[in-house]
C-alpha cells in the first residue's frame, strides 16, 4: 500500500441481516497513520461496520453492499485464501473480551508464535523472539515469563495487552478495535488507551476504534464519526465534533453525560425516546422521532451530508440551528471557555 493511499475507505456500505438493514450507507475515509473512532449506542451499527471490514459475517445470512477498501485491497473481491492472509497480515482486530480471542488450552506465547508462523516463513526461534519483542512493546512486565502463561493466568489488563500483541504479531497496517476497554477497570483502561495511541505513533498504525465512551474516543482518535441507526450523522476531527457539534444527536450525547449537569442534583438533559426500530425505518431522518429540532422535512426526506468546515461533515437539515442551540445551552466540554466556531 502506498503511503498516499488511505488506510480504510468505505463507500456507501450497506449491511443487512435478513430483513433488517443494520448499516444503511456509511461513507468513511481513514488516512494512513490516523485513528478514527466510531461512536454510537446499541443499534447504531458501529460494530457491524467494523466487522464488515474483515468480512466477518457468514455469507448466507448477511448481505453486504458497497465498497470496502482496506490496506489498499478490495475486501469484497478477496478469495478465501487471500482473506485468510489479509486477516492478521494487513488488517487485524482486537475485541472487548480477550478471553474470547485466546484458546484456553494453549499458552499465550505459543498462540502468538503460531500466528506469526502462519503468515511468514521464519524459524520458530525467530517467531518467539518477535513475540517477546511484542510483549515488551505492549508493556507486559516480565515478558519472558508471561509468554508461557495460559490466558486464565493473566489479569484482565494483561490479557488485553496480550491480545494487542497477538493482533500486531503479523505486522498489520490497520488495527480494528471493538470496544477494547469497555470491560476494563478505570486505571487499566487509561493505560490501554495510551498504549494504543503510542502504537499508532511509533508503528504508524492506522486505527479504527469502536466505542460508546466519548472519553475513550477522544483519548485515542484524531477523528470521530458519530453513528445512529446505521448511518454516520456527524464526522470530523475530535476537536470539531466534541467542541463544535452540529448534529442534534451529537449534542444530545454530549449533554446527557453526567459531567454535563450544571449543578449536582439537577436533572440531566436526556435524549427522549428509545433507540430506533431498524426493521421499520421511517422515510426521513432516522433520528427525527427523538430530535428537538425535527420538522416536517426531516421526517419526509433523508438529510444530505453537508460539509460545514474542511473535514467536518454533518447529515442534518438544520445544522446551523443545532450549533446555535448548543452554544446557547450548557456545553459540557470546557464549559468555561467560549466555543470556537
Amino acid at each position: 500500500m502506498s503511503s498516499s493511499e488511505p488506510a480504510v475507505v468505505l463507500r456507501d456500505l450497506r449491511v443487512a441481516f435478513g430483513k433488517v438493514q443494520v448499516v444503511d450507507g456509511v461513507d468513511l475515509t481513514l488516512e494512513r497513520g490516523q485513528a478514527i473512532a466510531l461512536i454510537g449506542e446499541s443499534g447504531s451499527g458501529k460494530s457491524v461496520t467494523l466487522r464488515a471490514i474483515l468480512r466477518l459475517f457468514p455469507e448466507g445470512r448477511s448481505r453486504i453492499e458497497g465498497q470496502i477498501l482496506a490496506a489498499g485491497r478490495d475486501v469484497q473481491a478477496l478469495t478465501k485464501r487471500q482473506l485468510a492472509d489479509f486477516r492478521g497480515g494487513d488488517v487485524s482486530m482486537i475485541f472487548q473480551e480477550p478471553l474470547l480471542a485466546f484458546d484456553p488450552v494453549y499458552t499465550v506465547g505459543r498462540q502468538i508464535t503460531e500466528a506469526i508462523l502462519r503468515h511468514e516463513t521464519i524459524s520458530k526461534g525467530e517467531a518467539r523472539e518477535r513475540a517477546l519483542a511484542l510483549f515488551e512493546r505492549v508493556r507486559i512486565p516480565s515478558p519472558e515469563r508471561r509468554l508461557d502463561n495460559y490466558p486464565h493466568e493473566m489479569s484482565g489488563g494483561m490479557r488485553q495487552r496480550a491480545m494487542i500483541a497477538l493482533a500486531l504479531s503479523c505486522r498489520p497496517q490497520v488495527l480494528l478495535a471493538d470496544e477494547p476497554t469497555t470491560a476494563l477497570d478505570a486505571t487499566v483502561q487509561i493505560q490501554v488507551l495510551l498504549l494504543l495511541r503510542e502504537l499508532q505513533r511509533d508503528l504508524g498504525l492506522s486505527i479504527v476504534i469502536v466505542t460508546h465512551d466519548l472519553g475513550a474516543a477522544v483519548e485515542v482518535a484524531d477523528r470521530i464519526a458519530v453513528m445512529y441507526a446505521g448511518r454516520i450523522v456527524e464526522t470530523g476531527t475530535a476537536h470539531q465534533v466534541v467542541l463544535d457539534p452540529h448534529h442534534p444527536y451529537t449534542i444530545g450525547l454530549l449533554r446527557s453525560r453526567a459531567e454535563g449537569a450544571l449543578a449536582k442534583g439537577s436533572r440531566l438533559q436526556t435524549i427522549p425516546g428509545s433507540p430506533p426500530d431498524l426493521a421499520n425505518r421511517p422515510p426521513g431522518c432516522p433520528f427525527a422521532p427523538r430530535c428537538f429540532l425535527a420538522e416536517e422535512r426531516c421526517r419526509r426526506e433523508m438529510p444530505p451530508v453537508a460539509e460545514i468546515a474542511p473535514g467536518h461533515r454533518v447529515a442534518c437539515w438544520r445544522t446551523e440551528e443545532a450549533a446555535s442551540a448548543y452554544r446557547a445551552g450548557p456545553t459540557p466540554v470546557r464549559a468555561a471557555e467560549p466555543v470556537l466556531a
Binding site: E41, S42, R139, P141, S155, G156, G157, M158, D185, A186, T187, V188, Q189, I190, Q191, L193, L194, R197, H212, D213, L214, G215, A216, V218, E219, T237, A238, H239, V242, L243, G252, L253, S256, R257, A258, E259, A261, K264, G265, R267, L268, Q269, T270, I271, S274, P275, P332, V333, R334
Partner: protein, 351 residues
C-alpha cells in the same frame, strides 16, 4: 411514602431522628476460602474490615475497581451472603436480632442489580414480578397488582402497555425501570443500587439517573450507589466512599473527595478518567498494572506497592481511617499527623 395516593409522611417510620445514621456498618469482614490446585488453602479477603455510616436522606456513592470488595459489601448489606464478622445497625437497631429481624429489615432496604435481564424472572410478566414482593408480605392480590401498575406509571412505563409484557420483550432501560419499580414495591427507605446504570447506553443512563433523583425526592429515599463510573457517582452522590482491596481508603463529601482527593489511590482513579478535551489528552497513566487480587494483600497499607508516596513505614503499619477534615476520612499515613510518614502534617499545626 405510599405509591398509592395516601399522603404518608416519609419519615413516619423513623426512629432515631435525623442525627442517627440510617445504616451503620462496623468491622465488616468476609473471607472466601479458595482451594488452589496443589492443596494450599488460600483465602480471598474480599471485605477486610469496613466501617461506614449511611446518613438519612443522603446518597452514598461507593467506588472502586475489581477486587475492591464493593459488590461483596452490597451482598453483605442485603444479607444475601452471611458476614464473617461485623455489626450492622439499621436506624439504631441491630439487624438480625429480635428488634429488627431480617424479614423486617428486608421491608426497609431493597436492591437494584446491574444485570437488568437476569434480575427478572423470564417466566413472569412485569407486573407479576413487581407484585410478588407485596403479595409475599401479606398485601392482597388485587391491591398488589394495583400497586404494581401505579409503580410502573411512576417509573415512566405506561401500565397498559407494559404490565403484561415479559422481560425479553422490553429494552434494557425499560427493564431497569421495572427493577426500580420492583425495589420500591415494598416501600423501602434505603435502596442499594449496585452498578444499576452501568450496563445501559449513555442516553438511557441519563434518563434512569433523572428518574432515580425524582424518586428519591418524592419518596424521601436514601441511596447507596455503587459504580465504577466516577462521573456518575460525582453527579448523584452527596458523599463518596472509595474502596481498595477490601478496605475503605477514603470517605467524605463527593466534591471534596473527587476534586481534592486526599488518598493517592483516589487521585489515580480521578486521573484515569479519559479526558474529553481533544487538546488536553491524558499524557501519562498514574498507575501501572492491574488492580491486585485480594487473595494475598500486601502488608501494611494495601496500596503501598503502587503508591507514589510510599515509604518504609507504609509497608509496616496499616493506616487507620482517620479524619483529616470534618467529615472527610482517609486511610493514608501521609495525611495523618504523627504517623511517621515524611509527608505527614505536623501534629502541632493540625488543628
Amino acid at each position: 411514602m405510599s405509591v398509592i395516593p395516601d399522603g404518608h409522611d416519609p419519615f413516619a417510620r423513623d426512629r432515631g431522628g435525623p442525627a442517627q445514621p440510617l445504616l451503620s456498618v462496623s468491622g465488616l469482614y468476609k473471607h472466601f476460602p479458595v482451594r488452589k490446585a496443589g492443596g494450599k488453602k488460600q483465602v480471598v479477603r474480599a471485605v477486610d474490615g469496613v466501617d461506614f455510616d449511611v446518613l438519612k436522606g443522603e446518597t452514598l456513592g461507593i467506588v472502586g475497581e475489581s477486587g475492591c470488595g464493593k459488590s461483596t459489601t452490597a451482598k453483605l448489606l442485603m444479607g444475601l451472603i452471611e458476614r464473617d464478622a461485623g455489626g450492622l445497625l439499621y436506624d439504631g437497631q441491630a439487624v438480625g436480632e429480635r428488634a429488627m429481624p431480617w424479614r423486617s429489615y428486608r421491608r426497609e432496604v431493597q436492591m437494584v442489580f446491574q444485570d437488568s435481564y437476569a434480575s427478572l424472572n423470564p417466566r413472569m410478566t412485569v407486573e407479576q414480578s413487581i407484585a410478588f414482593g407485596p403479595k409475599v408480605n401479606g398485601v392482597p392480590g388485587r391491591e398488589a397488582v394495583e400497586r404494581a401498575r401505579a409503580l410502573l406509571a411512576r417509573v415512566g412505563l405506561e401500565p397498559r402497555r407494559f404490565a403484561g409484557r415479559y422481560p425479553h420483550e422490553i429494552s434494557g432501560g425499560q427493564r431497569q425501570r421495572v427493577n426500580i419499580a420492583r425495589a420500591l414495591a415494598l416501600e423501602p427507605r434505603l435502596v442499594l443500587l449496585d452498578e444499576a446504570v452501568s450496563a445501559l447506553d449513555k442516553s438511557v443512563e441519563a434518563q434512569v439517573l433523572n428518574l432515580l433523583l425524582d424518586l428519591k425526592a418524592e419518596f424521601g429515599l436514601t441511596y447507596i450507589f455503587i459504580s465504577h463510573d466516577l462521573n456518575v457517582v460525582r453527579f448523584i452522590s452527596d458523599r463518596v466512599m472509595v474502596m481498595y482491596l477490601g478496605r475503605v481508603s477514603e470517605i467524605g463529601p463527593s466534591d471534596a473527595v473527587l476534586d481534592a482527593p486526599a488518598h493517592p489511590y483516589t487521585e489515580a482513579l480521578m486521573a484515569s478518567m479519559p479526558s474529553l478535551d481533544p487538546d488536553n489528552r491524558t499524557a501519562v497513566a498514574l498507575l501501572a498494572g492491574d488492580p491486585p487480587n485480594p487473595i494475598d494483600p500486601p502488608s501494611g497499607c494495601r496500596f503501598h506497592p503502587r503508591c507514589p508516596l510510599a515509604e518504609e513505614v507504609c509497608g509496616v503499619t496499616e493506616p487507620p481511617l482517620d479524619g483529616i477534615r470534618p467529615l472527610h476520612r482517609v486511610a493514608c499515613l501521609a495525611r495523618q499527623p504523627g504517623s511517621g510518614h515524611a509527608r505527614a502534617p505536623n501534629p502541632a499545626l493540625a488543628a
